[in-house]
């Protein structure tokens, strides 16, 4: 039997709820009314569980839940050049020197995976790993959890099947880890060769304790105006290695932040976002953006972005919308 991806998509069983059409007709018959959104409460058990966890943290004081204060972490060396090449290959050279050395290793199915180093702040968690032998070093579906069992979403990564170097990037460490430090657990059950190859099943679970870089708020720049839309800064923060901003956008452009412009010319050009942003240091060097997120809905749109920086100083933030205009603001990182 041959089943293409297209066939599977076409055959997906997605039955319409019986209540949908009656709801549509009822709502449409009431001009000007907005659908009442069902309230989505936090389940009571979640609240209770959070309270229990917080209480446990408060009274336990053990290093497992507060690894930042553990002696093991106080003595951890900071990795310097050892991870440099891997970081540079994914544009994270600015984080070099901010890593905590780790040495968790596990062997399964003949492949040894070593957790070499880790870095974490409120915006991203970066792990550097080494796989030996290196021919299958692409992690399929890596899972990262913290000491509270919370999963930290995977954002992307790099794998070099010649050297076995891996850089895996996850989302930021949530509260209260960001205060306490994070004891993370990385798990994967499949290693893969690239570009294609037979998946290798195994069980690789590694653990490490990473301090979480604290961030400090910076003064908010003045709002920018493009056409009739206002770009208002709501938060600007810096760690020793990153700058992150958050903005609210109101006006006509708020709903067009994801607009794509330009034509597709095979092998030559492809459409690109109309909304763009960059952070440039005083020497004209562009900082590496490691995330940029827009969200739109009821009310102002929101935009947040994070860049890796290599030094303190003045940075120029450029915000542009193709065909409309641009504005710049200065962000000073002390």
């Amino acid at each position: 039997m041959s089943t293409s991806l297209e066939d599977r998509l076409t055959d997906l069983d997605l039955p319409m709820p019986d209540t949908l059409v009656p709801h549509i007709l009822a709502q449409a018959a009431q001009p000007g009314t907005r659908r009442i959104q069902p309230m989505r409460h936090r389940p009571r058990w979640v609240t209770v569980a959070m309270a229990v966890v917080l209480l446990f943290v408060a009274i336990s004081g053990v290093s497992f839940y507060a690894p930042r204060f553990a002696q093991v972490l106080a003595d951890a060396p900071v990795v310097g050049t050892a991870v440099g090449p891997a970081l540079r290959s994914v544009g994270l050279a600015g984080l070099e020197g901010r890593f905590t050395a780790l040495d968790s290793r596990v062997t399964s199915s003949g492949y040894t995976v070593r957790l070499v180093a880790g870095y974490a702040d409120a915006n991203q968690t970066v792990l550097v790993l080494k796989v030996d032998p290196p021919d299958r070093s692409f992690f399929m579906r890596p899972e990262l959890t913290d000491q509270f069992g919370r999963e930290i979403g995977f954002s992307g990564g790099m794998s070099d099947t010649r050297t076995g170097d891996n850089v895996l990037i996850f989302r930021g460490i949530p509260w209260p880890d960001s205060v306490l430090g994070a004891r993370v657990r990385l798990h994967s059950s499949v290693l893969q060769a690239l570009p294609v190859g037979q998946p290798l099943a195994g069980e690789w679970t590694l653990q490490g304790t990473i301090p979480v870089e604290s961030s400090r708020p910076l003064p908010l720049p003045a709002a920018g105006i493009l056409a009739d839309s206002t770009f208002r800064f709501t938060q600007v923060e810096a760690t020793a290695a990153t700058v992150s901003i958050q903005m609210e956008i109101s006006g006509p452009l708020a709903k067009q932040l994801d607009r794509v412009v330009g034509e597709t010319i095979p092998e030559v050009a492809k459409p690109h976002p109309a909304f763009s942003y960059e952070l440039v240091d005083a020497g004209g060097g562009a900082a590496t953006a490691i995330s940029g997120t827009t969200s739109t809905g009821i009310g102002p749109a929101k935009f947040s972005a994070t860049w890796v920086i290599s030094h303190p100083g003045e940075y120029r933030l450029g915000i542009a919308y193709e065909g409309i205009g641009s504005f710049e603001r200065t962000i000073t990182v002390p």
Binding site: M16, P17, I24, L25, S155, K255, P273, I290
Partner: protein
């Protein structure tokens, strides 16, 4: 998909003897396909129902503005649906991050894909579709959820048929990568 077949052959849905387009008729003809589209682009079942409801209510309230001389019902309807989907607030993430590196890896051969697809459940496939970027999700959902042709997908997004074909193909490539990751 009678509506789609008619559209594919260039015939407007309203023939001379067709009954006037009412809210009930619009829902009867298109609600299941609008919901299939919504189920693919939204984050979950509740959001899909919200999106389908918003889109069809919007269309019903705009029925008075529909002009059959300017295009078919389908063309008009799917533009509304896509615009509502864009406006509705699905959070999009643009990461200059490293997915591009993963994406650039060539897709595996068909036999491998066949084997992998046989093992993937419908829920896993839908979850992977929902992890695509909003525009990629939209392309996939219009083409395979709503059953539109590439020309109609292009019209809904305001791009050419060729651009829609390319964009859908790229979305499928990305989906293959995500499915490989799933497995």
């Amino acid at each position: 998909m009678a509506g789609h077949d008619q559209l594919a052959h260039g015939q407007p849905v309203e023939a001379r003897d067709d009954p006037p387009l009412t809210a009930e008729l619009l829902c009867a003809r298109y609600a299941p396909r609008v919901y299939r589209f919504a189920a693919m682009v939204a984050a979950g079942e509740v959001e899909a129902e919200d999106l389908a409801q918003d889109a069809l209510v919007h269309a019903i309230r705009s029925l008075g503005q529909f002009d059959a001389r300017r295009g078919s019902v389908e063309t008009w309807l799917w533009r509304i649906v896509v615009n509502v989907a864009i406006d509705a607030g699905r959070v999009s993430t643009r990461r200059r991050l490293l997915w591009e590196r993963f994406r650039s890896q060539p897709a595996s051969g068909e036999n491998v894909e066949d084997l992998a697809l046989m093992r993937i459940t419908a829920a896993e496939l839908l979850a992977a579709v929902r992890r695509l970027r909003p525009r990629e999700r939209g392309m996939i959902a219009l083409r395979f959820g709503a059953g539109l042709g590439f020309a109609e997908v292009g019209v809904a997004y305001g791009i050419s048929s060729a651009a829609a074909t390319m964009a859908t193909r790229r979305a499928l490539d990305t989906l293959r990568i995500l499915l490989k990751e799933t497995r």
